[in-house]
């Protein structure tokens, strides 16, 4: 009786994930049997796998229906975010390869952990059920816990791994409790069925509100929105730079997509209930991201707070919850990914006195020794601050348009204020590079492999020239359906 299911052409929505899972297993064996340069070979193999997965995701685009007992859903929004995740993952594997080799972390399992994490994120984005959501989140984070602790001889790496693991387990527990409450009060775990069940009600009862809050807490932890952000700076600082790059670039995309889907699919009729939570998360994230980053001199902590701030802006669009919200979120996420790829490609290649860059004051005098690199950093920093000609501006622009359409004036004003404050620390890096006198002999080296150079070039190209041809992204993103 089940043969029909196998022959069903509808199962094609599943193919990218099956492909990625299958080839992750194959690359595990591949890494084991390649004797020479196992890490490098496996990384290249992983990049090829992810590339083909992108093609597969692109090909099943717009088959907007659910299958497998609605555990799994596909839509244009989901495909878009999956492609973003895959692109981020590919770029990270390429730009981090040389760094891993330089710090002598040559375990071939690292790219495989990234592959499994990417698989988890893809499943997370397309999950349409509380159970599949939870399992996908676990798959995603379990790989990342291991990746954070991968540098075994380093105390900080072990600390960040354990910290991430314990706090992640705590947040998973809260999320699971929320899921059980929602299941208990609606009798279903499916997003559409929960929505359907809730149509009969005007107000959420107490248990459902608790469930909603708990699930939101768990998800906010995963994207590090403010009251639940504590782990972010420590984990970013402790993990090896290359793993930090992965943390900063990829999981946030999946987390944001999942928060959007969770708020707008099962609880779409209870806007007032979840928008209060998101409202607080958003304002707190923006301001903490802007203010706490001022005191940071460690570049990784600074970028951690910067990413917390960016999450705040994306959540503004969620509060707007109109047609422009999804559009704004996808443009912002795209910009966020491109900018972070650019900045991490540079950070992972700068060596100061034979050590990789840690402190931002070590960038003193970079404008004289390496004018092109310092110009690129300046462009990315200006873009992150949201200064007009660059892509970061468009991200914020569409977010605020979405907010203003919904007459969220307070939120927009606060957002612009936070944006101005955050410009301080972005501009400070530019000031250090260009205007701080360096009395010591400049001892900065910039060494980058040509593959990473291509990625850096592409990201800079998009950041600078997005203004001339914005319609390619805007056309795609305005047609996205949740």
């Amino acid at each position: 009786m089940k043969w029909q299911m196998l022959n069903n052409i509808n199962n094609i929505i599943f193919i990218p994930e099956i492909f990625l899972a299958l080839f992750s297993f194959i690359s595990l064996i591949f890494g084991l049997y390649v004797k020479k340069n196992a890490f490098r070979q496996t990384s290249n193999f992983a990049v090829i796998i992810l590339f083909f997965t992108i093609i597969l995701v692109y090909l099943d685009n717009y088959s907007n229906f659910a299958d497998y007992e609605n555990l799994f859903e596909n839509s244009s929004f989901i495909s878009f975010f999956k492609i973003l995740v895959l692109l981020g993952s590919i770029s990270t594997i390429i730009i981090t390869k040389d760094y891993f080799l330089a710090i002598k972390l040559k375990n071939f399992e690292i790219p495989i952990l990234f592959l499994f994490s990417t698989l988890g994120m893809m499943l997370m984005i397309s999950s349409n059920n509380l159970m599949s959501m939870y399992l996908a989140i676990e798959l995603q984070s379990l790989s990342l816990y291991v990746a954070a602790a991968i540098k075994r001889d380093s105390v900080t790496s072990a600390e960040s791994g354990v910290k991430y693991f314990i706090l992640g387990a705590l947040s998973s527990g809260i999320l699971l409790y929320g899921c059980s409450l929602i299941y208990g009060f609606t009798g279903s775990m499916n997003f559409n069925e929960i929505n359907f069940y809730l149509l009969n009600y005007e107000n959420l009862n107490m248990g459902l509100i608790f469930g909603l809050v708990f699930v939101m807490v768990g998800l906010a932890f995963k994207v590090s929105a403010v009251p639940f952000h504590m782990w972010t700076p420590d984990v970013y600082e402790g993990a090896p730079n290359s793993v930090t790059a992965f943390f900063a670039i990829v999981p946030k995309i999946a987390g944001v997509a999942l928060i959007y889907r969770f708020c707008l699919v099962p609880f779409q009729n209870f806007y007032l209930d979840w928008s209060q939570i998101v409202f607080f998360l958003s304002i707190a994230s923006m301001f903490l991201g802007a203010i706490a980053a001022i005191a940071q001199t460690n570049i990784k902590r600074l970028l951690a707070y910067s990413s917390i701030g960016h999450i705040g802006y994306i959540l503004i669009a969620l509060i707007a919850a109109n047609d422009n919200a999804v559009k704004a979120a996808s443009i912002y996420m795209f910009a966020y990914m491109v900018m972070n790829i650019g900045i991490f490609a540079i950070i992972l290649s700068i060596k100061v006195k034979n050590e990789f860059l840690i402190n931002i004051y070590e960038l003193k005098g970079l404008s004289k020794s390496n004018p092109i690199v310092s110009l690129s950093i300046s462009i990315i920093m200006l873009s992150m601050a949201g200064i007009p000609p660059f892509i970061g501006f468009f991200g914020k622009f569409y977010v605020f348009i979405a907010a203003l359409q919904q007459e969220l004036y307070l939120l927009s004003i606060l957002g612009v204020l936070a944006s101005v404050i955050s410009a301080f620390y972005y501009l400070r890096i530019i000031k250090i590079m260009y205007f701080d006198d360096n009395t010591e002999i400049i001892n900065i080296y910039f060494k980058i492999s040509y593959q990473a150079k291509i990625i850096l070039f592409i990201s800079l190209f998009i950041i600078i020239f997005f203004i001339f041809y914005p319609s390619f992204l805007i056309n795609i993103s305005s047609n996205l359906i949740l």
């Binding site: 399992e109 599949s132 798959l139």
Partner: protein, 204 residues
Amino acid sequence: MFLYSLTFYLFSTIAVLSALMVISARNPVHSVLFLIFSFVNAAGLFVLLGAEFLAMILIVVYVGAVAVLFLFVVMMLDINFVKLREGFLQYLPFGALLGLVLVIELGILYLTDTSSNFNNSQILLEPKINETENTKMIGQLLYTKYFYLFQICGIILLVAMIGSITLTLRDKGGVKKQNIDNQNTLDASKAIEKKKVKLGEGIK
């Protein structure tokens, strides 16, 4: 019904008594063995409830894995159990408080009949215990409806395995390993070499 009650009271009495013995036995190995005994009796209670799958899982997971692990810890590590037991009675008030809370909760459950005001008709699909074994039912659901989740669980376990191996396995240099192939193919005539030693020179 009499037999049912008899078995129930038998299992539960033994479970409670052996649980008491877990904390009062002097020898820690005896404690662990009593713990296993208690688990087995709890599994018996699950069978009485018609949840034979849970009973099996209890035996496999708790007795097979957890209790054996305890036994390993107790036997392998040099822990001074006499010292651990020293402040035993000072936790008594706290334990009594927890017990009291549990008793009150049970009392509330007994006094308020929740089944009558449970108006949600969507759930509460009661399993027909006498018709299908619940192992079969769980299997039927797990491999058809929730096949996808089952597969993700498998991948998660795989990742956990990869992670634990990556984080703990170290390649130590200079470790001599036994190579059985070489040993078996060793030729007696080549293994021993005879040399003539010249007087006053030795072998190089």
